[in-house]
Amino acid sequence: MYLSTTRATGTPAAAGRLRSARVPATVVALGMVSFFTDISAEMVAAFLPMYLLYGLGAGFLHLGLLDGLYTGASALLRLAGGHLADRSARPKAVALAGYGLSAASKLLFPLVGGAVSAIGAAVAVDRAGKGLRAAPRDALITAATSPHALGAAFGVHRALDTAGALLGPVVVFALVAAVGDAYDAVFVTSFCLAMIGVVILACSVRDRRIAPAVRPRVSLRDGWGLLARHPLRRAAAYATMLGLVTAGDAFVFVGVQRQTGLGAATLPLLPLATSLVFLLAAVPLGRLADRAGGWKVFVAGHALLAAAYALLAAEWQGPVAAACVLLLHGLFYAATDGVLMAHLAPHLPEHLRASGLAITQTGQALARTGGTVGFGALATGWDLRVSFVVFAVLLTVGLLPACVFPPDGKETPS
């Protein structure tokens, strides 16, 4: 099996260093980039409905058009970002372009005025930047970290990312209270925060210069050619298959609110609980993945999600049940989101790493969208509870091959 490692650490001494595996400063810096970018992005996401309804007076029918139009486009851009990062061998430059695009889009909002289509275009630019930067950023994290500490490194990054996402709405609502209808101030603040992220990326992370003569030329076919190989093919296939039997988060929250007898007033707080668990568990579960094996943790995470669905289907009442479901839901994210990347990255040839990560992420993202649509159709045509039963069963069935035939037999290259 072809395995590439980020650094020469296949020695027995490396096993001894496992315990003291440190997360490099570069990863913390990339985490801070995501932290500021996510504050900025979530500010706008939380603010946009308010801005359209009260700043521009656009009816909320138009809002629907702005939401979810971009899934396909962002998937394509994710693939493009991965390919460009590999082709140029300069993931930092590509990531910088992505972060820069998103930052610039924040200034587009107040500039384009009231046309909903123009607002839609600004959102599209933001999403394009988001799609473009994901894979190169994950490749940078991989390049900076020893393979034995990748789980922890991705855990640190995702924890900082989530912290930013949690802070964004807080910042924006505090700001709206302070500036009243001076809505431009919200976008300017969001832009400045995003630019802080861009500055940190520009100043603290470096692309490793590889002489063009030394590095292989990368064509589009090479990236897809990865799918012909273990372990990516199997891992990507599993991630996609499991994504197809993942219900959208919103359904989980509605399920928690309805089937645990909590008042409707608690519903807005439920996503915060999931995010908070994700935030707290990302690093510990990343470390666990480093020790026990990433794939095991990834599969276990989906088993936790299946358990959450089963609890929702069982209609066990009360706040304890709600807490259990939300805990499982948050742990699912902590055990899968960064862990899958950490598991795959060392097994990908270095010059195709961003492409490989992008293909996996895209497959998973599109599959989860499909899963959400499927769940929605099932819940509409049948019943919310029955849908959770069906998805719990499907998820469990999907986990069997992932357990029995893991994508590779070895965790560490030798």
């Binding site: 939380a46 909320f60 919103a250």
Partner: protein, 318 residues
């Protein structure tokens, strides 16, 4: 550049960004100062209570709506006042979200209730006892990209939260209606503090429902009616109706089911408020980049007139 110089350049850039952003926000806050006048007394009949510049609770005689208003130190995204009670839908920073606050004069009469989404409609029953809201949610709609709304009702006297309308039993054409993709919006109350009307959307169709708080049921009474507003005498509803390309204001006689389009030809996306038995007020873009209040006769005659510039959330004390 050496590593040290890069760090120095980075730190300087960040400091500059913090100063620029902070300075802009400070400048915006300075421009946000508004002269506040306190309400001298309870708003009496014939008072227009509204949101000045779209956010400050204010009142003015409806017959002289352009006058300098009495402003109160409250900001809301959406508000409504009736029977001495104001419901004010506003933002909360920690944890980030929105809430419904209940005021009598300047005093909060109950704990605010968190609402799940961006406020879009607000109502209070004629007695001032019940308050309702509609919030717009993205992200839990059954088709990604669609929108979802939900409506809730709160009893300010007993502290009962009548849940969101999703929890009520719905009857359409005499049959229980069970589709999960139900959305509710635009509650309006009758005088008995028990009966109310609201809109339900589901499977691409829209109904006017009559609700009963005692039996927790909703019964479909008509189609195509959105954001109903019950007249003071309880016989008619003003509402917006989709006219192919835009929403037009209409009035329906509840006894005969007869629908009358009103003289306002521009699109209205608002829940109207009755000024008296013959006129309705509503907010719409005024063509000059602002949302303003207009009034139009409720019998389809006449023409719309500007009530007040740069204002929203109208309510007229009966």
């Amino acid at each position: 550049m050496s590593a040290r110089r890069r760090i120095v350049a980075g730190v300087c850039s960040i400091v500059a960004l913090v100063c620029a952003g902070g300075g802009y926000v400070a400048w915006a806050m300075a421009g946000n100062e508004q002269p506040l006048t306190r309400a001298a007394a309870e708003a009496g009949p014939g008072t227009l209570v509204f949101l000045d510049r779209g956010r400050t609770l204010a009142q003015v005689p409806v017959t002289d709506a352009g006058a300098e208003p009495v402003r109160r130190a409250r900001t809301c995204l959406r508000a409504y006042t009736s029977g001495g009670t104001t419901v004010c839908l506003r933002t909360v920073a920690v944890p980030a979200g929105f809430e419904a606050a209940f005021l009598r004069g300047d005093k909060e009469i109950a704990e605010p209730v968190r609402v799940d989404g961006t406020p879009s409609r607000a109502r209070v029953s004629p007695s001032g006892r019940l308050a309702a809201w509609t919030v717009f949610r993205s992200g839990d709609s059954y088709d990604p990209g669609g929108f979802a709304t939900t409506a809730g009702i709160y009893d300010t006297r007993s502290g009962t939260l009548h849940g969101s309308l999703e929890d009520f039993a719905v009857v359409v054409d005499g049959e229980p209606y069970r589709r999960e993709d139900r959305n509710f919006w635009g509650v309006t109350f009758a005088a008995d503090d028990r009966t109310f009307y609201a809109t339900m959307g589901s499977g691409g169709r829209i109904w006017l429902l009559r609700g009963d708080l005692a039996t927790r049921t909703l019964t479909a009474v008509a189609g195509g009616v959105e954001c109903p507003s019950l007249s003071p005498d309880g016989t008619r509803i003003a509402y917006k109706k989709w006219a192919g390309t835009r929403w037009r204001l209409h009035v329906m006689d509840l006894r005969t089911g007869r629908e009358t389009p009103l003289a306002e030809r521009a699109e209205v996306d608002d829940q109207a408020a009755w000024v008296d038995g013959a006129t309705v007020a509503y907010a719409r873009p005024d063509g000059e980049g602002r949302i303003s209040l207009f009034a139009v006769p409720a019998d389809g005659t006449g023409a719309p007139r500007l009530l007040r510039r740069d204002a929203s959330s109208p309510a007229v004390i009966q």
